[in-house]
Symmetry: C2
């Protein structure tokens, strides 16, 4: 019996690859740089070469591999594996599944990267096997993945799970890259948190955040969290504001889906309890009572491996049924 699933998490700068066994455990993982030159034409060939080289190194062949799953940063047609658009990679209507399958000689399945992370958390992470799960990824942007009855929800145009583009700030919101204003992403991504922090930083000259800004010329989302944990009042108020938007928006998601779990991942989620507890405060305020009592929120546990593990899950479920 074939024993390995290959999970790939394609990012704008780095591509993460992993050989994963049928129980979802990582056997081997490594990274390669993503070459986005010439509108990303080298990406699939580079991945295929990296897989071949690693299989050779470990004395294995394609014969031992079920298939390749890859999460990509953009909207995906789940039936064809075509990427509608991946701005950072220069792809529009790109037949990623076919290209990668030809290059590797293996069956390939493609999904949006946030969705893959959601599947990974469902299988081996904080989702803990829950079949109704919502994942939200707080990183440079805010991504989301929705799983209902154990299946990814893609939507009619591959745009389901765009939690980062739910409107959280109805009036006078910041402009978002997507063309709207007031999206959750504008206030809850790493960039968004800095934006909220910068807004009144000049009126808070005694805050440690202002000191960091004066000394280093900039502040980061991590600075906000560290200063908040140290009790800095302004940093606490910034975090409270961010968590208000997150709690409100996630409550509205939960009022629609009443999932078993909401899992919060991405770099910002490393803030841990101080983030989670503040989100919960507002989540409980804005969630319908039955939802509040039954939908739980937790921090993701798989970190950077979630995407590859989710991709492996999809390979297993698509090609081994």
């Amino acid at each position: 019996m074939k024993k390995w699933l290959i999970g790939v998490d394609l990012g704008g700068t780095t591509t993460k690859l992993a050989f994963i066994n049928l129980d979802g455990e990582i056997v081997h993982k490594w990274e390669i740089p993503t070459d986005i030159s010439d509108k990303g034409v080298y990406i699939t060939e580079n991945i295929a070469k990296a897989i071949k080289a690693k299989l050779d190194e470990l004395g294995q062949t394609n014969a031992n591999v079920v298939g390749v799953g890859m999460g990509a940063p953009g909207a995906v047609d789940e039936n064809t594996g075509i990427i509608f658009e991946a701005v950072n990679l220069g792809w529009t209507n790109y037949p990623l599944q076919d290209k990668l399958s030809t290059a590797t000689g293996l069956p390939v399945v493609i999904e949006n990267d946030a969705n893959m992370a959601a599947l990974g958390e469902m299988w081996k992470g904080a989702g803990d096997g829950a079949k109704d799960l919502v994942c939200v990824t707080l990183g440079t942007g805010v991504g989301g993945g929705v799983i209902v009855n154990g299946n990814m929800v893609s939507g009619i145009s591959g745009a389901a799970g765009e939690i980062g583009h739910m409107t959280s700030v109805v009036e006078n919101g910041y402009a978002c890259n997507c063309g709207k204003t007031g999206c959750l992403e504008t206030v809850a991504s790493a960039t968004g948190i800095v934006r909220v922090a910068m807004e009144k930083i000049e009126s808070n000259p005694t805050s440690s955040l202002k000191k960091i800004l004066d000394e280093t010329g900039s502040i980061s989302a991590k600075d906000v969290v560290i200063c908040a944990e140290a009790g800095d009042e302004y940093a606490l108020s910034v975090l409270d504001q961010v968590c208000f938007y997150l709690g409100l928006t996630l409550a509205n998601v939960a009022n629609v889906l009443n999932p078993e779990k909401i899992v919060i991942g991405g770099g910002v989620s490393k803030a841990g309890d101080i983030l989670l507890n503040n989100i919960l405060k507002y989540f409980k305020k804005y969630a319908f009572i039955r939802v509040r009592e039954s939908t739980s929120i937790s921090i993701a546990t798989l970190g950077n491996d979630a995407g590859a593990i989710g991709a492996a899950w999809l390979v297993k479920n698509k090609f081994m049924k």
Copy 2:
């Protein structure tokens, strides 16, 4: 082969019943009053008697019936058919499926009434067979039903689809019966529309709405729509406000699910185009661009029959597989 599905839509004052063929066409429909005395203990027996009498009248027997589907006003455990709570009927943890099955001698399936209406619209109404569908019912309250991949989404505690309890008014919202404030229901149900209209009616003495209030002692949601259609400025501003909340909230639902269709039903939906066009104006403003381009909104077409037809669909899909 058995030829009839029985659809029942249980309401607080009236129970609608229908014999429906396997193509979803109503063969026979009628209503009985809902006897909610003594905490609703007579409800299932009365329904069983009504079905038996009608079958006798038409010269038919249970042998020709696949089963009974019933929509009930409350949260339902989809596996057991137990009603967690139906405030208007006096039920708490009520084993509705077992009671009705014993009384009728037929297989029974129970769902929340808004969900049944959603299934009905999917099968034979405005959903037009779409497998990813969200229905919102604007009546005395605001209900919702979510269908993904052709299946009802119930959530971990039967509370999925509570679109009426999404928080639409974040600050200074009205108190909702559910215990929260600012729920969509407080501003977009028939009662909610009147509430919005009453808010500034005294500052608009020349509005036709004020005249109706002075002459009859009250106004209705229908009055708001009729006056708006006649060009009354204040009525138009009230409708605009209501549609702003609806458009914003439905855009946020669509940003999560990117359904093929959103169907708006319930008494308020009889307002038709003036309601739909105003909702669309705000929906397009707050929906993510791919969602805006792919998710459509339309008015329900089955009216009061949606619940019974959806119940019949569930019978067909549960007991004829």
